[in-house]
Symmetry: C2
Subunit: 348 residues, 2 copies
């Protein structure tokens, strides 16, 4: 075994350690913490080096790299999207991520991000709703009860004070799973037989379904005045969830408009349709909800800065814990020019 | 501890295991194997999804992601370039890489690539020389005796039959290190006091210096008729090693012209100066060396397909060995939709 320097060992958070961290911190506090880190980064949005994700498409899915940098740290996420995976017993989305120091170029954190993405997506949704939904919202409709559903429900409870979630999925087994998992959450959980029933009395409607096609999960008549829509399932070209009529009645908020116009619900609209970037609301440069009857829509596709915030949080939060392993990932000879000598000396 | 499925555990090759693999295979056989994998992929070049690297620059360096895919597998490399690192006791270049299955989007290999990049770069150089250098070349000048130098010398011995290397570096300590490391290589090793002395009688000249600026490592008068130049240090915008006059006397071969025009020696030339992509020579679609007096130049900046080939090789080569560890990197619940339930059940 070689004796690498501290910098050569990259802290690695496995899936197992991520689950321990969630229980160590508590899931609702962790969702609040993640929202706080995202909020902090959205406030300083113009400081970031923003790049559209780099995608590699095949007929059955996509693999993407999502980099972002604030000039001091650099982060990226590897994430796949394969809707057909579920039917083969695999995850639709898996992910891992890395944080590095811009000054040395050395990685400082490698972590699983399948779980972390579920958490940061839920934290992002609830953070947006904190700024856009009616302040007295207590009931949320959750349409699509897959892998993301419970995280969404808990984030809206933790950040927005939601007390009742009304669940609907085309597959009743998904709803049953969600009801079971939320049994001890403190939420009032109401399984519903139709999307119409789910939206009844809801001030917030979250749509999160996984079909890779234009679908109409939400029709115009289901959306009353004053509602906030949190649309997270329309997140790649050709995949949308909302009837276009809803988009015309709503004030639309997005993460990074350049990306959302290609991937989000607004791909159904002309490319000059007015939208507001959420960071402007958070930084006090634009208005969120103006009035009670207004329909607000957060057209969320996920952006690299949210992953950057999540990576920053994990790096900070694991300090002083045993919830990571040092990974021998970087060759680091005593004399940096003597890479070959290091290999030679390892022969013994 | 959870019970992840096979697919959730990603084989990881640490620096330590990469060194063991090198000694297990033998460094010269491994350089030949890598060249064979690169040659195979260069032959089917048009099949690849080619993307220019995604770079994030700071004042002191750069971090890059280099993805490539052949439609079946997807690979990418994370690599930094920080010339000032050496003076701080760190590597100028560190790297790691990942190979994934395009059909599922699941990673199938994570590996250190600092050592692997040194090996694949040397294999690439020697492979190019096999097609471009005079067949009877036995003497190589090696200008720049840093971390890459010994790998280059051994690759040219293994693939091109080089018997003598003539070493020069502005820092004599670097040359001394290189002489020491090559003592038992079977090469005749001649330390030189000047680049002129190094190039004396050499049929191949390799330049590999690390200054991040326009420099003239090789002047016109040092390059005689019939020489093959392997220029690997001019590899980013603003960083070149050759006097422009040499470029006008040489037939120029590159990896991916779109990238080389920005990063290579030819950034000193008009953007329409004729160059040949090496894959065309390897695939039999273009001529390499035509005659004895011709000066050939391989203007190498490194391309993602070479890393893809190296990743493929490691994946194939570690099968049946114990030279990797399974990494718990992908969350993989029994029911793919029950990510939250997996977290809940881990609480116990």
């Amino acid at each position: 075994m070689t004796q690498p320097s501290d910098k050569a060992l990259v802290p690695f958070v496995s899936v197992d350690n991520m689950m321990r961290l969630i229980h160590h911190v508590g899931i609702e506090p962790m969702l609040r913490d993640l929202a706080a880190y995202i909020e902090e980064d959205f406030r300083r949005w113009p400081e970031f080096d923003k790049t559209a994700r780099v995608a590699s498409h095949s007929e059955v899915g996509v693999i993407e790299l999502m980099p972002a940098s604030d000039g001091t740290s650099y982060g990226f996420k590897y994430v796949n999207g394969h809707p057909k995976n579920t039917s083969e017993g695999l995850q639709t989305v898996t992910a891992f991520g890395l944080l590095a120091d811009m000054y040395t170029g050395y990685p400082v954190l490698l972590t699983e991000m399948t779980l972390l993405t579920a958490l940061r997506t839920a934290a992002m949704s609830a953070l947006a709703a904190k700024h856009l939904a009616p302040a007295q919202a207590r009931v949320m409709a959750m349409i699509g009860n897959g892998a993301q559903a419970e995280f969404q429900c808990l984030a809206f409870r933790a950040l927005c004070g939601i007390e009742e979630v009304r669940l609907y999925d085309i597959d009743p087994a998904a709803t049953a799973k969600c009801v079971r998992n939320l049994a001890r959450s403190g939420l009032r959980v109401v399984p519903c037989d139709s999307p119409e029933q789910a939206t009844l009395g809801a001030q917030i409607i979250t749509t999160c379904t996984a079909d890779k096609q234009y679908a109409t999960i939400l029709t115009d008549n289901m959306v009353g005045a004053g509602v906030h829509i949190n649309a997270i399932g329309g997140d790649c070209p050709g995949k949308t969830e909302l009837a276009p009529a809803i988009l015309h009645r709503a004030d639309i908020f997005v993460e990074y408009s350049e990306q959302t116009r290609v991937e989000g619900e607004i791909q159904q609209l002309p490319s000059d349709h007015p939208v507001t970037e959420l960071w402007q609301v958070i930084a006090g440069q634009a208005t969120g909800r103006r009035e009670a009857v207004q329909i607000t829509l957060f057209d969320s596709v996920g952006f690299a800065i949210e992953d950057f915030s999540a990576l920053r949080y994990i790096r900070d939060r694991i300090k002083g814990t045993d919830l990571f392993e040092p990974l021998d990932m970087l060759a680091d000879p005593d004399d940096p020019r003597d890479l070959f000598g290091m290999v030679q000396r390892a022969a013994g």
